[in-house]
């Protein structure tokens, strides 16, 4: 076949072109039609991305910090239900349950946490949705708490359970990051209800959804623990 005088379609070129179109067509078709094929592929890539992020991660890198006048006004509320449904916890009877690979499992009260060394930070919380906001949090560095309770720090995962049924988990490296804190205060005042009272995780090396609110339990495990959003497809590592 002559396209014009100079350029000619060859049999080999034609067969190759049709074969590539067919290959792309059937791969795309399989992705579109088979939910399990698509899910398996995307799950595998997400696992690979966990690994890549772990390799890129360093505990020496601190998240950028900001000055008081850079703090965002009207810090956004976000959650898997409207603000009005946020759990109401009694700060006096509240206890932090400790579990898994830790030596001292005696539950801690809010007063116990207040007695420990406190850290304050002004950092940017970055949501997986794309928005971000600067806030000031203070509380107990998680590495300090984990060491105090004698947690197993070697190749483990830290799981956080919450009063609203939410849970998440993080790699031990990120849990030991100097800026990872169990926050008790926001903008210098005890956390308000919608923002996670009485205790939330503030971890500036992870996306917002890892900063669990209304914490009721912390446990340490050898096995990966997943999480509420992670089960629905958010990437597990989600490091920043």
């Amino acid at each position: 076949m002559n396209i014009d005088k100079e350029f000619q379609l060859t049999r080999r070129g034609f067969v190759g072109g049709i074969a590539s179109l067919a290959a792309i067509g059937s791969f795309t078709g399989a992705l579109a039609l088979s939910n399990s094929f698509r899910k398996d592929l995307l799950d595998k890539v997400s696992k690979w991305n966990d690994m890549a992020q772990g390799a890129l991660y360093s505990n020496d890198k601190l998240a950028p910090t900001y000055s008081l006048d850079q703090i965002s006004n009207n810090f956004p509320y976000n959650g898997f239900y409207p603000q009005a449904y946020a759990p109401r916890l009694n700060p006096l009877s509240w206890r932090l349950e400790l579990g898994g690979l830790v030596q001292n499992k005696t539950p801690l009260s809010l007063a116990d946490l207040r007695k420990m060394q406190q850290e304050s930070q002004i950092t940017r919380l970055i949501c997986i949705e794309g928005w971000s906001a600067v806030g000031q949090w203070s509380g107990v560095p998680l590495h300090q708490l984990l060491r105090t309770i004698g947690a197993d720090l070697k190749d483990t995962f830290v799981r956080i359970d919450c009063a609203d049924g939410y849970y998440t988990s993080i790699d031990i490296e990120s849990a030991l990051h100097p800026q990872t804190i169990l926050a008790l205060d926001f903008l210098g005042k005890p956390l308000s209800r919608a923002f996670g009272a009485p205790v939330r995780l503030r971890i500036p090396v992870k996306l917002g959804f890892k900063n669990a609110k209304f914490i009721t339990g912390i446990s340490v495990h050898k096995q990966p623990q997943g999480g509420y959003w992670e089960e629905q497809g958010y990437n597990w590592f989600s490091g920043l």
């Binding site: 350029f7 792309i24 995307l42 890539v45 991305n49 991660y57 794309g130």
Partner: protein, 218 residues
């Protein structure tokens, strides 16, 4: 000799798939927290919603990186056997001239040589790809790779940069398609690897024909 070698055609095809997928999954990511007064239709956003769109975006990112690197190595390094027509020089005057010719359907397309519109567009693409790559990594790792975001003044500005570069690439894709449709043999060439007879100086058939005609002369 094929005008577009098989390996370049495959790499170009996979790169195009990656880029179109990144654009449309990016739209679904943007929809989750839009910073402009509009959102993109769910029907043309790969993955539809945030969770699935992010999974696509971070799969296609790998395909994008691999194919873009391969393409640059194969096509732009002078040592490569696939080193292609030059992207330079580009002159503003020549772009104007070519544009007028294209709009009046008079632009002569010489396969194996780029007109100035093409040069300008392809350089723009390479620059936007670099911006998308750097801004994408800045957004993905705003702590580990924080110097990236510092260049443009932080995470929030970087989101706009990434989005802007997407807009450039999306516009390019439309123009690129229009230009291809104006010169359909380029599409056939990319799909089926047309043979360029003009460069086939020594075709055995022609040689034997010549021989015959000479024999007749004697």
């Amino acid at each position: 000799m094929p005008i577009h070698s098989a390996i370049l055609r495959v790499v170009h095809g996979l790169n195009a798939i990656a880029v179109l997928g990144l654009i449309s999954s990016g739209w679904a990511i943007y929809n989750a927290a839009p910073f402009l007064p509009f959102t993109f239709p769910v029907s043309i956003s790969l993955g539809g919603y945030l969770t699935e769109a992010l999974r696509w975006h971070f799969m296609l990112v790998w395909l994008f990186i691999i194919t873009t690197t391969l393409f640059i190595v194969l096509r732009l390094s002078p040592l490569s056997p696939y080193y292609g027509p030059s992207l330079f020089p580009i002159s503003y005057k020549a772009i104007q001239r070519d544009l007028v010719q294209a709009l009046t359907f008079k632009l002569k397309h010489k396969l194996g040589q780029y007109n100035h519109i093409q040069r300008f567009l392809y350089v723009t693409v390479l620059l936007s790809f670099s911006v998308l790559f750097l801004s994408g990594f800045g957004l993905w790792k705003p702590v580990q790779l924080q110097p990236f975001n510092h260049i443009v003044g932080g995470y929030e500005s970087m989101r706009r940069v990434h989005f802007g570069a997407m807009a450039v690439i999306a516009s390019f894709s439309v123009i690129h398609l229009i230009m291809v449709l104006l010169v359909p043999k380029t599409l056939l060439s990319m799909l089926f690897g047309l043979q360029n007879n003009a460069t086939q100086v020594k075709s055995p058939d022609i040689d034997s024909l010549l021989l015959k005609s000479r024999e007749n002369e004697y």
